[in-house]
Symmetry: C2
Subunit: 311 residues, 2 copies
Amino acid sequence: MEAVNAVIRERMASRHAPRIPEVTAHLVEAGGKRLRPMLTLAAAKLLGSDDIRAVKLAATVEFIHTATLLHDDVVDESTKRRGRPTANLLWDNKSSVLVGDYLLARAFQLMTECGSLEVVTTLANASAVISEGEVLQLTAAQSLETGTEIYLNVIRGKTAALFSAACEVGGMVANATPAQQAALFAYGDALGIAFQMADDLLDYGGTSAIGKNIGDDFRERKLTLPVILAVEKADVEERAFWTRVIEKGDQREGDLEEALRLMQKHGTLEATRLEAHAWADKARAALADLPDHPLRGILADVATYVVARLT
Amino acid sequence: MEAVNAVIRERMASRHAPRIPEVTAHLVEAGGKRLRPMLTLAAAKLLGSDDIRAVKLAATVEFIHTATLLHDDVVDESTKRRGRPTANLLWDNKSSVLVGDYLLARAFQLMTECGSLEVVTTLANASAVISEGEVLQLTAAQSLETGTEIYLNVIRGKTAALFSAACEVGGMVANATPAQQAALFAYGDALGIAFQMADDLLDYGGTSAIGKNIGDDFRERKLTLPVILAVEKADVEERAFWTRVIEKGDQREGDLEEALRLMQKHGTLEATRLEAHAWADKARAALADLPDHPLRGILADVATYVVARLT
């Protein structure tokens, strides 16, 4: 991971525009979990490869992630990320948009250096799924018609697509067999879904340790699983409440508390917790098709960890 | 070009998010000149290739261009593009940011289908130069210290990088020799610079036929060549004027007229026109290293055309 951080620092530089490393460093140095690049390294090493290309691809994956964070914070008009003010607040939306574009371009430069079109295709596909998921969230999010199927598409784009691609490209530089590639994809996909469901649940009751404010999703009228399940079980009066606060965005004092009460009444927070655990189980099960290696145990622990925050 | 348009229409679709083709179509169907994809097709054909990959790459180049327009309009807070309301005005900034990201990802998917890492590298490099140039413009633009060297870096990023890459990738699928590749790069680079200088000049005196408002750059406090040259020749009083309107952004009624008067006084509009013509000459000269072919004459005419708007 130190080698990955060195590549990140080296490649976020810009000869002409000092604003770029300023903005990037603010986010990159903020102490994110570096979960995605870790997946790439682990996938390669688990299959017996110490190929330096895995390090470059790990940095690539983190660049793509950082670019999407910069753009997300503009789209969500966020003011806080990882417990610190967001780049769009410290500088401006313009810098966040353009520096995000720059990081994405740098990511594609870096991945081509690995000399594998299969790798480029995998990460280009992931980028397309990510932005498609974000647009879908934008258009579908405030409609009570949004069901669990659309929700899965949204979080696959938002989170799982890059998790699975991060695992896959690690396997590619290690010459994984097709069955191993499928296992890496399935692990990353399920892990990403479990991770995002946990995040969505924590938004309604976790601690503020992740640097977000409780109820952010509610205020942004995002239909995440706890709300979707509550809308499904709503009676006429409750549906009118959800229509007002989510569809119409007419939110008043006490509404977040009322939303929490309805979610508890219908057990949707608990149902979301169980669903996240089920996806973590799927992630662990996918590892069975990979070689017996200490890192396989660590990847299983990662799946346990992302939902352990919920208990 | 019809085949290119068909690829563009096919690939801008999204199974999950109908907002994407809506926003894209608004821009793509607005009747842009399609100059960049035309360069790719012409470069390939001029070197004797009818490779279908040139069509895909032409569509790729237009996708990258469209993505940058969507993001530019957010950054510049523009309201008009090609004589129509911009996407950020019709929908919102969020859609413009995310649909731009989607188009960029689609561009990278499309270019990998051509099976050439050299092509991917060239377009990834161009994307990095584009966004670096935009950030540079953002940070340097409102400082009177901005000289012609920084201006050249900015417009290389803004315009010339994609023009030259569009020519280069056309040459790559046609197996151009290194000398031919160099000629294609030099032509695209010089053409792009001439094109952008012409645009920057028209902002201070052209017709509104290009769908922009006269004085937009002035109001956005952009230091383009006509202003940079006027600042270089400014006396103390004139420098105080530029400091107020550009650096401090304190613009009052009559300031645009005063700026025009100073540019005319120092002959900077005429100097910019001559500089644009000089770059168009360089573009035509670069064609000498390419085979004798009717398309070579057409490319020469394109260079003449981009500055003919100025006379």
